[in-house]
């Protein structure tokens, strides 16, 4: 009898001990946007971090800030590190959805691009929305954004992201506005009217894409002659043997950020993961896996010319590029997107 209860006692304590043993290995949940980008992050950040004796649970989402907001407001946060786009990083910081970051525990701020540093979000990489075409199918390469609108010179449909963002900027570029003046013009009523009017010219020729992966598919399938696309998607397609080409001038570059939602379950481990990911070594591995520019400028020295040439941050590619205006879009985004919906209905 006594033996039995001893055994039961031992079994019970073993059962109780097991989960606590499992918990001792630090585990964090990292949220990304999926696709080619997630694979590059897995290779550059998650796998090396796991080799160092940690556990990373990768989760995909579509960038819905509502999910973070709902978690934080309900005080039931299950995500530790989340990748967000720049307007969401800015709005989330304003609204207190994210933890403040202690840069002394990450990397020296001086090593990072200026745009990558913010109170509660740190830029991971630079990506760009650019014009692209299929090198195997298009005889005459485009020489400017006016060509995107010129369906006589380059016949065929045009792929564009469903929504106002980026398209209004491109419309103004095609209408002859200089990259440096685009947001100044767009902020005025006349400028917005001008952009929508220009977009109307192209409307019958536009094939809209919803997900980033669709744009290179359109090119490969021959559905469109030119398309706007995230540059990393072109890189991913070319790694699979396609011959897609990017027209860099007028591209709109922006950063994606890591944030820690307020009340994240493993805050310290999350900060450690971010610090790990922001190291120059890991950042350079990331850039080798997808053509997005590392936010840690020290990583550039570790990359060879072939990789550098495809990054949106390289000198030639960035020369005539346009920096996405977070301030403009977090102020005007809702109104312009609604106007876009009204415009599409007409």
């Amino acid at each position: 009898m006594k033996n039995k209860s001893l055994i039961a006692c031992a079994a019970l304590s073993a059962c109780l001990a097991l989960p606590s043993l499992a918990q001792q290995q630090p585990q964090i949940t990292v949220v990304n946007f999926g696709g080619a980008n997630a694979n590059a992050q897995k290779k550059a950040f998650y796998e090396p971090y796991e080799k160092a004796g940690n556990k990373v649970v990768a989760v995909e989402y579509n960038g819905e800030q509502a999910k973070i907001k709902a978690m934080v407001e309900a005080k039931k946060v299950t995500w530790d590190v989340v990748e967000v786009e720049s307007p969401d990083a800015a709005r989330g910081c304003d609204e207190g959805l994210f933890e403040k970051l202690d840069y002394s525990k990450i990397v020296p701020q001086a090593d990072l691009l200026p745009a990558a540093v913010s109170d509660c979000a740190v830029g991971i990489f630079v990506w760009s929305t650019v014009m692209a075409y299929n090198g195997d199918k298009l005889k005459t390469a485009p020489t400017g954004w006016a060509d995107f609108w010129d369906t006589k010179k380059i016949p065929g449909k045009r792929g564009m992201r469903k929504g106002a963002r980026y398209n209004l900027e491109f419309a103004l570029l095609a209408d002859g506005v200089k990259p440096a003046d685009v947001y100044k013009v767009l902020a005025t009523k006349d400028g917005a009217d001008r952009a929508f009017k220009k977009l109307t010219e192209l409307k019958p020729h536009i094939q809209w894409w919803e997900a980033g992966a669709q744009a290179p598919q359109f090119l490969v399938a021959g559905d469109v002659a030119l398309t706007t696309v995230y540059n990393g998607r072109i890189d991913a397609a070319n790694r699979e043997g396609r011959n897609l080409k990017i027209y860099w001038p007028g591209g709109i570059y922006d950063l994606d950020y890591w944030v820690i939602p307020k009340g994240a379950p493993n805050k310290d481990a999350a900060l450690k993961f971010i610090a790990f990911g922001m190291q120059a070594d890991n950042q350079s591995v990331y850039a080798q896996n997808i053509a997005y520019g590392p936010a840690n400028t020290k990583a550039l020295a570790k990359l060879d010319k072939k990789v550098l040439d495809d990054l949106p941050t390289s000198a030639t590619n960035a020369k005539e590029a346009l920096q996405f205006s977070v301030g403009f879009w977090s102020d005007q985004g809702e109104a312009l997107e609604k106007r876009f919906a009204a415009w599409a209905t007409q």
């Binding site: 960038g63 469903k162 399938a221 021959g222 919906a341």
Partner: protein, 440 residues
């Protein structure tokens, strides 16, 4: 992935018809013995009857509680959120008092600026300033950076005039009326603005209701488009589904069951998989276009994808079982002898079909059409992936306001609009159809 309405609608209706089916015969039995029994027996019977009714009620209780929790409570919360407006009233009480009596034309008095800055300084948390900025920005684009800028510049000191000057120096838009009008207008805790915006109306500075400026009128057109797409899908489903259901109903049970599996297999496949399959089939170098070009029927590939055609094709495919199943169950109960009788009495087969057979399947047509139409109204993923910018239905914008803009008031108002439209249509159907739903 699908919109909640998509899932809740059939649940209610099935539950609804289930309750009716259960209660009707019991009621009929209950009233019959009452009239003839003598006093004591009548009382005993009545007691037994009450017990029986309570037992029946307690059996349906779990379902009622389930419905209450999963349907009525969320809908009530949704309706509440569509008119709730706490941000400005909570954050800016002193500003509201300072704006009392302001004519709402030019910039307000300096006292209002001082009161606003004081209110901002008293906010317990940065997130409250963020919520205020978000709310005002959805009315007056640009308000976010103004409010957050002022919040970051805290503290402000000195007389009201100095504060006013400092705010104006930081952003000259503080001297314009629109933001102040938005603050004054949103001082009330409840607002009709979201609901008005969902039908393209707005309140002007003095609270009069007027139409939105033309470039902001979106949702009226989107609602019409939603109904239009749903109607087309319903009609195509009926045209395709009716002959198929008729054929299935006329087959012997064995082969009908085998074929029914063919109808149901796609029904059990994930919507996303089916959408992806349609992309493969319909793209310009896809199977359909290549087949048609190989047959020499067309010279240029048809645009079947990323437009209305693609959306309708995929939605018809997804919703077809909802048309076929009710039609089939009604057609199974129509005796084939009626049709034979009509023909033997001299009717032509076609006339007999339309004048004798079809009218007997009206309940199935009504149920199938209503099911397909109501499910179609809530569609979101299929148009998002297969449609262009002008093929998106109302749910797409509900999802957009929920997830991207995080303007939940607007999302709830659009949800309420969709709910009201659906209920209205159901009401019209009941009035016109007068028949009880038969859902197989």
């Amino acid at each position: 992935m699908s919109h909640p309405l998509q899932q809740t609608e059939p649940t209610t209706m099935q539950a609804h018809s289930g309750v009716i089916a259960m209660n009707a015969p019991e009621m009929a039995q209950a009233s019959a013995p009452d009239r003839h029994a003598p006093g004591a027996l009548r009382k005993a019977l009545a007691r037994a009857e009450v017990r029986r009714q309570w037992r029946a009620f307690s059996l349906t209780l779990p379902l009622l509680v389930f419905l209450l929790l999963t349907l009525l409570v969320p809908i009530a919360a949704l309706l509440q959120r569509a008119v709730e407006n706490p941000e400005v009233a909570n954050a800016l009480p002193a500003t509201m008092r300072a704006l009392d009596g302001w004519d709402r034309r030019d910039a307000p008095p300096a006292a209002a600026y001082a009161a606003l800055v004081g209110d901002l300084a008293r906010l317990p948390d940065r997130s409250d300033a963020g919520a205020l900025a978000r709310r005002l920005n959805s009315e007056v684009p640009g308000a976010r950076s103004m409010v957050m800028g002022a919040y970051r510049d805290l503290p402000f000191e000195g007389p009201p005039e100095a504060i006013q000057e400092r705010l104006l120096a930081a952003d000259p838009r503080w001297g314009e009326a629109p933001l102040w009008r938005a603050i004054a207008k949103n001082g009330a805790r409840w607002t009709p603005d979201y609901l008005l915006a969902s039908v393209d109306l707005q309140r002007d500075a003095l609270g009069q209701i007027e139409r939105m400026p033309e470039e902001q009128r979106a949702f009226g057109g989107i609602l019409l488009r939603t109904f239009h797409i749903s109607l087309v899908v319903t009609l195509v489903c009926l045209l395709v589904g009716y002959p198929l259901a008729w054929w299935l109903a006329s087959l012997p049970a064995r082969s009908a069951n085998v074929l029914m599996i063919l109808v149901l297999v796609p029904f059990w496949t994930s919507i996303l998989v089916r959408v992806a399959a349609w992309i493969v089939l319909l793209q310009s170098e896809g199977l359909v276009n290549r087949g048609l070009m190989g047959l020499g029927l067309i010279e240029q590939p048809l645009a079947l994808l990323f437009n209305r055609t693609g959306v309708v094709i995929a939605m018809v495919h997804i919703l077809l079982p909802f048309m076929i199943l009710p039609l089939y169950s009604v057609m199974k109960s129509v005796p084939p002898t009626y049709l034979r009788a009509a023909v033997s009495l001299g009717s032509s087969p076609i006339a007999a079909f339309f004048r004798v057979y079809v009218p007997q399947t009206y309940p199935g047509i009504g149920a199938g059409a209503l099911l397909v139409f109501i499910l179609a109204i809530g569609y979101y993923v299929t148009p998002a992936l297969l449609g262009g910018a002008d093929d998106q239905m109302l749910s797409y914008y509900i999802a957009r306001y929920t997830n991207v803009e995080v303007n939940w008031g607007m999302a709830c108002a659009l949800g309420a609009l969709l709910l009201a439209a659906t209920l209205l249509l159901y009401g019209v159907y009941r009035r016109v159809g007068k028949a009880e739903l038969s859902l197989g």
